[in-house]
């Protein structure tokens, strides 16, 4: 559960469909198309006749910004140009900032001709004590440079936006546009509040033929609201960040995570890495990763992950198997040892013996591969039934044929990291 980015396409669709409930004369029509690798552009042209009639904008819609700066926006294009642009870029590995990844999703919408100085900025951010509305008459790419022009309107969490006179707080020089902008911002805030947003930035929006048109938009939702927003968010997906398509294994763990009450997380950082972690607990898992990096093994850290919330034996079995499968696919090219750190703090209520039973089952399944790959295992854990859990781990060591070092609460939580890696330094 956390704040998750959504596609500009989805956010604009939400605006087009829901904002009229809040703003009387908001009639942005949401003429917009999302092109994916599966999209048939001919079908798009049939279903959206406007694409052939209007000048178009095409840009990637994959949760990264500064698309103009990366030269990834096609402006004022004909249908044929747009099609050609998409066909050329689709699936192509592209460098964005420091991350390389394939372009897979493009947003296509009508081009709105306007001058730079007509660009307006609005953003809503959330903070502990409330939300803050940001508005600037000088929007666009240079918003940061012109931050002194930005008006900040705090909305305390227990206050109502209806009770705030937005209009008087907006710059007077907006003239007759001050009221429609205030109405737009008020409605936008209400939508933000009601539909589970955690961040929303429209930069810029412009008046075109008297109508407000959002041109560029970034949004994050609080995914913990899913239960309440199941109707409003219907069909909405939370894409992985650019360049981070889920691997098969990550998707598998995510799927298990979604159907149990426990928490199971896995991110592969470097499948060639030699240091693999299987740590219980959201807090402890970070500390193990920290310690590995502190010791200078950041480049060898193969994964980040955690399991917690009293997972069943079957869950930990599946989780362990997934990690073991990844780590025993290849030997280290230089023949060096690979390390598996089965770590964790002292559990409050997770039954250590029960979770370790699943871990032990998986280790037994992979006995041959663990031996062949040259794996050394370090265990540290405490909590309910930990003596039994550690006992079955030690016992396993006798028949597994790979070294297992087992420690309990008497050993500092992260000490197994230096025990494993200290010798290599």
């Amino acid at each position: 559960m956390a704040q998750r980015g959504i596609r500009e396409y989805d956010a604009k669709k939400m605006l087009a469909e829901r904002l009229p409930d809040y703003v009387d004369d908001f009639d942005y029509d949401g003429q917009i198309v999302l092109v994916t690798p599966e999209t048939d552009l001919e079908v798009v042209a049939v279903e959206n006749p406007w694409v052939k009639k209007k000048r178009l904008v095409v840009k990637p819609d994959q949760l990264f910004g500064k698309r103009g700066a990366y030269g990834l926006i096609l402006l004022d294009a004909t249908w044929d140009e747009a099609k050609g642009y998409i066909e050329e870029k689709m699936g192509k590995e592209t460098l964005v900032g420091t991350i390389v990844g394939p372009l897979t999703h493009f947003l296509m919408e009508p081009f709105v001709p306007h001058d730079r100085d007509e660009e307006l900025y609005v953003a809503i951010k959330s903070d502990y004590g409330g939300d803050v509305i940001y508005f600037s008459p000088k929007g666009g790419v240079n918003i940061e440079a012109n931050w002194d022009q930005v008006t900040e309107i705090p909305v305390p969490i227990l206050a109502k936006v209806e009770d705030i006179d937005l209009e008087s707080k907006l710059p007077a020089k907006l003239g007759e546009r001050r009221k429609p902008i205030a109405d737009f911002i008020r409605g936008l805030y209400q939508l933000y509040q009601d539909l589970g947003f955690a961040y929303l930035e429209i930069n810029p929006f412009v008046f075109h033929q008297g109508k407000i048109i959002p041109l560029d938009l970034v949004a994050r939702l609080d995914d913990a609201e899913a239960f309440w927003q199941r109707k409003s968010w219907k069909g909405l997906e939370f894409p992985e960040p650019f360049g981070r398509a889920l691997t098969e294994e990550e998707a598998h763990i995510k799927e298990i995570d979604s159907r149990t009450g426990a928490s199971l997380k896995l991110t592969i950082l470097n499948p060639e890495g030699r240091v693999w972690t299987m740590v219980a607990g959201g807090g402890a898992s970070v500390i193990y990763a920290d310690t590995i990096c502190d010791l200078g093994f950041a480049g060898e850290l193969a994964n980040y992950g955690e399991y917690s919330g009293d997972p069943s034996t079957e869950d930990t079995y599946e989780y362990t198997k997934t990690i073991l499968d990844l780590m025993t696919r290849e030997k280290d090219p230089q023949g060096r040892t690979k390390y598996l750190l089965i770590g964790g703090g002292i559990a409050n209520f997770t039954d250590v013996a029960k979770t370790f039973k699943g871990v032990v089952m998986a280790l037994e399944d992979y006995r041959e591969r663990l031996r062949n790959t040259g794996v050394e295992i370090f265990v540290r854990r405490g909590g309910p039934n930990y003596e039994e859990g550690l006992r079955i781990m030690r016992q396993l060591g006798e028949r597994l044929g790979v070294p297992i070092h087992v420690y309990g609460p008497e050993t500092h939580m992260t000490r197994i990291v230096s025990m494993a890696l200290g010798g290599e330094k």
């Binding site: 956390a2 991350i99 913990a224 039994e388």
Partner: protein, 614 residues
């Protein structure tokens, strides 16, 4: 005894537990007992589904806790309760917490649920602040005041509580985001100092109800706390409040702090850690920046979590040398009896069982019939006869035997409404009794005179043959004893008007049984009796009883002992009761559908013959 402003709980604090969390409640009470509290810390349980009482252990004794369905009811009866430990799910955590906060006597709410939306968390937090109340959580295990009060599952097992010396106050006030790390911190602190005074986990969400600073300031004000220890986390800017407070001199006690998540600088920015709030959105929010700022402001910051304990030890030893902390006095702690389930799983205790079951087992994934998983029973299409073989005899019987049993069940299923069982059931049903009562009243008629002939016939014919009596001798013996031979004789049927059912059974046996010795013996007996009177034929009850024994002799899964058991324990009456139940239920349902009224036997059908009373 009123609490100080810096205290959330003391040895007299009592709480409501919202949610029927029996394990957590027992853990709280075990902690109380260990700390020798005079009253349990749980005053009442709020269970939206059921009011009443709940039984818990208080040491070795059992005591009762009241259970209410709503917070106002509980609060009305227990006006001194100040804490709600809220185990409501993420869906109802908000409503229940707001309800609790609205109640004047409630001062602190601990919210355990994970996945509470951020807007709800912020509203709860702001509401509590406005009312000068405290929220711990959401997404936390809670916290604990050593020797005084424990929230829910905080600090885990009793062994761990003893190990970390949480039954008496030490000198460290600890606060972290992570609930999982709270327990680890108790361990580290106990190993490197005299232990904690209080430990709180505010939860890993972005907007916790109370933040690190709130608790650090309480620790600063609490004279029992000599050292403040804290674990921060990447993401958010809470730690800068601490930096400011250090700079402004609002924190004067030594503060040992480490901000976790230093690895985030080398990991791709898109990795979401286990905690929802653990993500840096600006450079300021990184763990490195925070650790640096804290160190510059005068906090004790280790180089890595690995030396967190060492730093606490250094500070503690320093204060001890200066005489600023007293060495904690170890109280004698009472023993908490181990729960039977735990002791049993560890192999420490054993207990003689009171019951034995050798036919079925429902403990695993799938129920077992005589060791055979139900799905296999279905796959093998064992049928009712096969299932009877498993559950009555614990044997897999061959298909022809199973089919014979099913034949018998069909034959005995019903015999019209006039016979004892059906009649009784009909009368009971007409009296408005439910299906099971009416069925029972019908079944209760099965015995020596009704249906019981199957058992008796099997027993008598087997006895006669086994003791070497010739059919003639057997008939003679029974006659001289004045006993009708069970299984012989029919009201209407006779040699000339044979019973179809008997013919059917005999035909099946001749075709499928390897041996029909007892049947042959019985037919010889019938020859003698029918010579005397045409209706003294082998009747259907006799035929079933006798053929069942022949079936067992024909079947190599049975031995003599099994056959003796069948007779000794009255298996065959079971066969009759089972089959006949089908008919009885039919009659009852028939009466129900007909909406029959109460049956009263006509008086003119009863001969009233009373003795004369003077």
């Amino acid at each position: 005894m009123t609490m100080k402003s810096y205290q959330l709980f003391d040895r007299n604090t009592r709480a409501f537990v919202y949610g029927y969390q029996t394990n957590a409640i027992q853990r709280m009470l075990d902690f109380d007992y260990l700390c020798k509290r005079s009253v349990p810390s749980v005053a009442a349980i709020i269970n939206p589904n059921r009011a009443g009482i709940h039984k818990v252990f208080w040491g070795t004794e059992e005591i009762l806790l009241p259970m209410y369905t709503t917070i106002p009811e509980a609060a009305a009866d227990h006006p001194s309760v100040e804490i709600v430990v809220n185990f409501a799910s993420f869906r109802s955590a908000f409503d229940t917490t707001m309800e609790a906060l609205a109640h004047p006597s409630i001062k602190t709410v601990a919210i355990i649920a994970e996945g509470v939306p951020e807007r709800m968390s912020r509203i709860m937090a702001a509401t509590a602040r406005k009312m000068k109340k405290t929220i711990i959580g959401p997404a936390t295990v809670g916290g604990l005041a050593a020797g005084a009060f424990r929230i829910g599952n905080t600090a885990g097992t009793i062994e761990n509580i003893i190990e970390s010396k949480l039954y008496r106050p030490g000198c460290v006030g600890f606060v972290s985001k992570s609930g999982g790390m709270l327990n680890e911190a108790f361990n580290i602190i106990a190993r490197n100092s005299s232990g904690v005074v209080e430990g709180i986990a505010i939860g890993g969400d972005r907007y916790p109800g109370s933040n690190l600073m709130d608790h650090i300031l309480r620790f600063e004000a609490n004279p029992e706390v000599a050292i403040i220890a804290c674990l921060g986390e990447v993401g958010g800017t809470d730690e800068y409040m601490i930096v400011e407070a250090l700079k402004e001199g609002r924190i004067t006690k030594p503060l040992v702090i480490w901000v976790t998540g230093t690895c985030s600088k080398v990991l791709p920015g898109s990795v979401q850690f286990g905690h929802a709030g653990a993500k840096a959105q600006t450079d300021l929010e990184t763990a490195d920046a925070k650790n640096r700022a804290l160190k510059e402001a005068g906090a004790v910051v280790p180089d890595s979590f690995d030396s967190y304990g060492d730093k606490i030890r250094e500070v503690y030893e320093g204060l001890k040398a200066e005489g600023k902390v007293e060495v904690a006095v170890e109280p004698k702690i009472p023993k908490i009896p181990m729960d039977y389930a735990k002791a049993s799983s560890e192999g420490i205790v054993r207990k003689a069982t009171n019951l034995i079951c050798t036919i079925s087992d429902d403990r695993g994934e799938e129920v077992l019939y005589a060791g055979k998983p139900l799905s296999r029973v279905m796959d093998d299409r064992m049928g009712i006869g096969g299932v009877i073989g498993l559950l009555w005899f614990k044997k897999e019987i061959p298909p022809w035997a199973a089919e014979f049993i099913e034949l018998v069940l069909q034959i005995v299923a019903d015999h019209g409404p006039a016979v004892s069982a059906a009649h009784n059931a009909i009368v009971a049903s007409c009296a408005g009794k439910d299906l099971i009562s009416a069925l029972s009243s019908g079944l209760l008629t099965i015995g020596p005179r009704f249906g019981g002939a199957i058992d008796d016939a099997a027993r008598e014919f087997k006895r006669a043959r086994d003791s070497g009596l010739s059919p003639e001798q057997f008939v003679k013996e029974m006659k001289s004893a004045g006993i009708n031979i069970p299984g012989i004789g029919h009201r209407i049927k006779s040699v000339k008007n044979p019973d179809k059912r008997v013919e059917l059974l005999i035909g099946y046996a001749r075709e499928n049984f390897a041996r029909t010795d007892l049947l042959d013996y019985a037919l010889s007996v019938q020859e003698i009796t029918t010579a005397k009177k045409g209706n003294l034929i082998l009747n259907v009850d006799g035929c079933i009883g006798i053929l069942f024994l022949d079936l067992m002799s024909s079947c190599d899964v049975f031995d003599e002992r099994d056959i003796d058991d069948v007779i000794k324990y009255g298996y065959l009456n079971g066969l009759f009761a089972l089959g006949r139940s089908i008919g009885i239920i039919g009659h009852i349902l028939d009466q129900k559908r007909l909406e029959s009224r109460l049956y009263r036997h006509p008086q003119d059908d009863i001969a009233y013959m009373l003795p004369n009373f003077e």
